[in-house]
Symmetry: C2
Subunit: 116 residues, 2 copies
């Protein structure tokens, strides 16, 4: 089953821009809203409102409270989110389409077949 | 001379976030302000205010008018910008640190020494 947020939560995520390097999603919701579980690749989140959310992933919860105009790194992950505040959520996700760079030393030390 | 906007226009550009894949800059100015020429790598711009600007690059000008909450691709470029509107500019630039992917066929057809 797809975990693409445009498909899991089409009422909340809107495609704002896309090319071969990035995809930009705009997210909006209202207090009390809970998203279906979905996935994010490595992304930058830019907030456009002040909000408070509970993020749930593999049985663990975390609460986040952010002001408008914040920039946060979202490492690739699957989660669901709940607006537990009294304000609408409004945020942009700049998704990176390229795979993360090979960590230094990875090629030299890797196990398994040689890369073609 | 550096064209890094954090150095050319330190009163307008602020480092909002940085890791090995991206650098996020926050830009602010007031009507009438003109930036020193600077460079952007491939970036996504997210606007946080409505603004009108004149961008100048290699002798050519272009006027842009954007609402708050817009996402725009900024291909790698050098330019200077002037706030020609009546509102402050507020925007975020998500800069991509990785080089653009090699275009299909580029390796096979490239001139010059073999890649190591």
């Amino acid at each position: 089953m797809t975990k693409d947020p445009l498909e899991t939560n089409p009422g909340n995520y809107r495609l704002a821009f896309e090319n071969d390097r990035v995809r930009v999603l705009e997210y909006t919701d209202t207090p009390g809203h809970v998203t279906t579980e979905h996935s994010h690749p490595d992304s930058v989140m830019i907030t456009a409102s002040t909000f408070r959310r509970r993020l749930s992933s593999t049985g663990k919860d975390a609460e986040v409270e952010l002001p408008s105009g914040a920039a946060r790194w979202v490492p690739a992950q699957e989660h669901s989110g709940e607006n537990i505040g009294e304000t609408d959520t409004h945020a942009f996700f700049v998704e990176l389409k390229e795979p993360a760079p090979v960590p230094p030393g990875h090629r030299e030390n890797r196990l398994g077949p040689a890369e073609s």
